[in-house]
């Protein structure tokens, strides 16, 4: 590992830590500032003000916001994210379990979506071939199918045909809803990049040396075209993450998005802040992996 790569990774880790700190602090403060403050839903559900005030006192919610934030940050050092009011349990294990579910969903979706890459190489190599004629319209349609729409469409398909299960916790609908537009995006990008790589001087030189078209495509053009596609891996991971929020709520997948949605509705401050923290960690980790992969295949980015 070269020193430039180490320095690059160190810078990215530092940036990720700043991101995590800002997001979770913002979530903590914002939920506190929300109208009615924490536990508002107890009032709505018929609880009286005295009960809520007592609960506030017991949970330490009546102290100044800065003190509470200080305590919360202090707890972070011990991996203590405070207690959830709704679940009446520590936040850390709940958030970790749900984050693992979200990560699992995202990993399955990403694995399915990677099919787009080899298909893109093939369609990019022969833009006028029969394969492109079949794949391109499908890909354009799927790119236009954002996860929330895909999830609803797939649910409809599932209930009207019974081809796959819609029980909460089954992976079929949520993973496909996330994977299909992503696969199509990867296919479109890889196709475009491959077509451009085939016109690059070094690839044309390889073809001129008399290498077989297959070898020119897969050994010379494909790796070269993978580089710019990996360049937007960070963007794709971000979109996977934000898409999973809607998909989780629509399909009932017990992930971080669904947990956070419930926590926001109940003004469960510590749970919201915990979710934001864990979510930022997951997202930052994904971005970090994307950056490192990119730095490995494209040394130029290490300077960024």
């Amino acid at each position: 590992m070269t020193s430039s790569l180490v320095a690059f990774i160190a810078r990215r880790v530092a940036a990720a830590l700043v991101l995590v700190a800002v997001v979770s602090t913002a979530a903590f403060v914002l939920t506190h500032l929300a109208p009615g403050g924490p536990l508002t839903d107890v009032l709505i559900d018929g609880g009286d003000k005295v009960t809520v005030a007592k609960k506030w006192e017991r949970l330490g919610l009546d102290r100044p916001l800065v003190t509470q934030l200080g305590d919360w940050v202090g707890g972070l050092a011990r991996f203590d994210l405070g207690r959830s009011f709704e679940y009446d349990a520590p936040v850390a294990p709940i958030a970790r379990e749900k984050a693992a579910n979200t990560a699992r969903l995202a990993a399955v979706a990403l694995a399915i979506a990677l099919i787009g890459l080899p298909v893109g190489v093939l369609t990019g190599a022969r833009p006028d071939g029969w394969l492109s004629a079949v794949i391109t319209p499908i890909a354009v349609a799927l790119v236009s199918c954002p996860p929330i729409i895909g999830a609803l469409g797939l649910l409809w398909l599932a209930v009207s045909t019974g081809w796959f299960s819609i029980a909460p916790g089954s992976l079929g609908v949520p993973s496909l809803a996330l994977a299909l537009p992503l696969a199509a995006t990867l296919e479109r990008l890889q196709s475009q990049a491959t077509a451009e790589a085939l016109r690059a001087p070094d690839v044309m030189a390889a073809a001129a040396r008399g290498l077989s078209p297959q070898r020119v495509l897969w050994r010379h053009a494909a790796p070269q075209s993978l580089r710019p596609v990996l360049g937007i891996a960070g963007v794709l991971i971000g979109s996977l993450f934000s898409g999973s929020l809607a998909v989780e709520v629509v399909t009932g997948w017990p992930g971080l998005g669904q947990l956070m949605y419930g926590a926001l509705a109940g003004r469960d401050v510590f749970l919201v802040a915990g979710c934001a923290l864990v979510g930022a960690v997951v997202l930052a980790a994904g971005n970090l992996v994307a950056d490192i992969v990119r730095a490995l295949v494209d040394p130029r980015t290490r300077l960024a």
Partner: protein
Amino acid sequence: MTRVGLGILALVATFAAAAPVLAPNDPATPFLNRAYAPPTRIHLRDLDGWHTPFIYRQVLADRVLSRYVDDTSTRVPLQWWRDGRLFGVGTDGGPMLVLGADPLGRDIFSRLLFGARLSLGVTALGAAGALMIGAVVGALAGVAGGWLEAVLMWIADFMLVLPAVYLLLVLRAMMPLSLGWTTIFALMAVLFAAAGWPQVARGVRGIVSTERTRDYAQAARAIGAGPFRLVGHLLPAASGFLAVELVLLVPAMLVAEATLSYLGLGFPAERPSWGTMLQDTANVRLLADAPWLLAPAALLFIVVLGLQLVLGARSERTHLKAASRS
């Protein structure tokens, strides 16, 4: 393909603009005994032969199963230009439900048309805002250079990796739940603009900082053009990029609106957007019997598809270029 896409977008925009004329019914009126009613079919002929367009009155046959039968004994002729609406039927034969009814018996087609105004309007406003902020910030950074460029781009980079949808959710949740639809409209547009500008700014900065080394920019500076005048000379070079960015931002914001409203944090039920209407699909088992509840999702798909067709391969090229530049 670009023309097909433009055609789709123009058609949807026209439908949204002409909603009060095109909608056969009031979007907020629940019709008695019409919950989950299927789309009213428009007929041209019956056993007697051909007629002007007519419909049959729907009659509730089974309240539990929401089953409806057509009353084929009388033809209800379609009336043109009644009460300032393009088409419809009188109260005795109606209501006419082009795309069926929602769980409260409201006309989905009319709600879809009026919802388009909110969904497309807030998206267009948000995208325009993001484009404007991004162009100004990017041009400023590219022309100024030095520490100002570093700080502005650092902020943009930071905002790009934020979990935007989650933050939108937190921001929206900290505000009062019941807001007027105009407030929500303004709020969403501001939030969308705030979330969308960074990627525009990055691209514009890249274009402006290469462009300002060109001869024409040097010449402008040599004859004494200040930084603002210089930006005016340099920005046209970014116009192609800005056009592509606009088309890329719109789908993301449409989906964000749909998500927020679906989650109950967007437009209220009495002024529904497409996202609000999708709340009716929450009971997925009903979808098999009432797929017309998915009409807003289908329309959203069509709009995004239209945008994709307009862009063609430009979308991929922009992404790839941005990736190799950063």
